[in-house]
Symmetry: C2
Subunit: 206 residues, 2 copies
DNA sequence: ACGTTTTGTAAGTTATCACTTACAGTCTGT
DNA sequence: ACAGACTGTAAGTGATAACTTACAAAACGT
């Protein structure tokens, strides 16, 4: 049994370069030749690691989603819930721009006819939404006093769900705006802190 | 001088079919053969009306934007500003789904590297934003009393600008959600009426 | 009816696409 | 050292892309 199988590791190493390529040119606009150039490999070497261009794209989607959630986790760790959320609202815009996640999303949305791509994107949104709802309700129950330890009731969760979707909406527009240079970073920050802040905290301290 | 030139009219007639094709398959995913099939013409007949596939796409972007604004105008006409806005918030989601505007936007965003496509999209967003700001400030000044007829001041306009972007954000997410079946229509309605309503009207009547 | 122009139909061109095959090197456990 | 799997390089495959060319058939003003 000669030579150990390092394919899994190789895949992981190549994903950032693939992500960059897909983010730059979209799904249909990215060629396998381009992917090979981006990874400094030949096309058939990529095809030894994934069965198709689509598989490469789906792997990229998963990779970026994991990366994004990991970033959230890092922001939440070692901070009290309120401070963590405020911090995320401030930093989310900046971070989103750096990862290529939003461009991959646009690319995927253009291919939403394809059931696998569609499912991958939908799963990503749903998991992210669930995650935010969890963060929001954890914070809400903490606030009402750990002593009571009341379970988040149905109305609370429903409200948190709407709020979570709204935050995701702000994030989506911010991505579009960044892509098209619609408004300066300052406006983007105000969107997140002012509007986003108002959303999660109906009575602003003024 | 034989046969009048009806090209302009022909172009206008064909745009809806072209829009449908681009909306279905994205920009790069749509082939000129597909466009020909969608319009029931041959490829070279299309090329007699537009110089390239890109020109066809840009024409579609303009067409859908004009259509969307016309719809807004129709909603605003013959309604007092407040009622008109409420009505738009209720109907916007439904209407957006029917026109293919959002899918065209996704398609374009995947090609945002192309300066012409990028400019067309950016222009569309900016014009739409300006339009909403105008609607919002008209309403605000109306409210403070037509008698005073005070000019909208800078802070008002800035606030309206943020609100307008937020509404556009909700619209964008709604489109994504519709595309990916993220949540039911009811949630979508609540997003617009509850969150959207709160955005344009910080103190809800309760 | 005629001359000019637009319209319709078909075929072709060149490039590039996703994906494959062939084969020579190279590494590893034994 | 050597078998057997992995790695690298090159070339090739058929399909299909955007876009053209060629030419016959209408349509219109005169």
């Amino acid at each position: 049994m000669p030579r150990p199988n390092l394919q899994e590791q190789r895949r992981a190493e190549l994903l950032p370069a693939l992500a960059r390529a897909f983010a730059t040119d979209g799904y249909a606009g990215t060629t396998t030749a381009g992917l090979a150039a981006a990874t400094d490999l030949r096309e058939n070497q990529l095809y030894r690691l994934w069965p198709s261009k689509k598989a490469m794209f789906l792997a990229v989607v998963d990779h970026l989603y994991d990366q994004h959630v990991a970033w959230w986790e890092a922001q939440l760790a070692d901070r009290p819930p309120d401070a963590a959320i405020a911090h995320i609202l401030e930093e989310e815009g900046r971070h989103r721009g750096e990862s290529g996640l939003h461009r991959i999303t646009f690319a995927g949305l253009s291919e939403a006819r394809d059931p696998e791509i569609r499912a991958a994107l939908a799963g990503m949104y749903e998991r992210f939404h669930a995650y935010i709802v969890d963060v929001l309700t954890r914070r809400a129950t903490n606030r009402t006093g750990a002593a009571k330890k009341r379970k988040a009731n149905k109305a609370d969760v429903e409200q948190a769900s709407l709020t979570a979707w709204s935050l995701i909406a702000l994030g989506s527009l911010t991505n579009i705006a960044r892509e098209l240079d619609l408004f300066p970073v300052k406006t983007q920050e105000r969107l997140f802190t002012q509007v986003g802040g108002a959303l999660i905290d109906p009575k602003p301290p003024h």
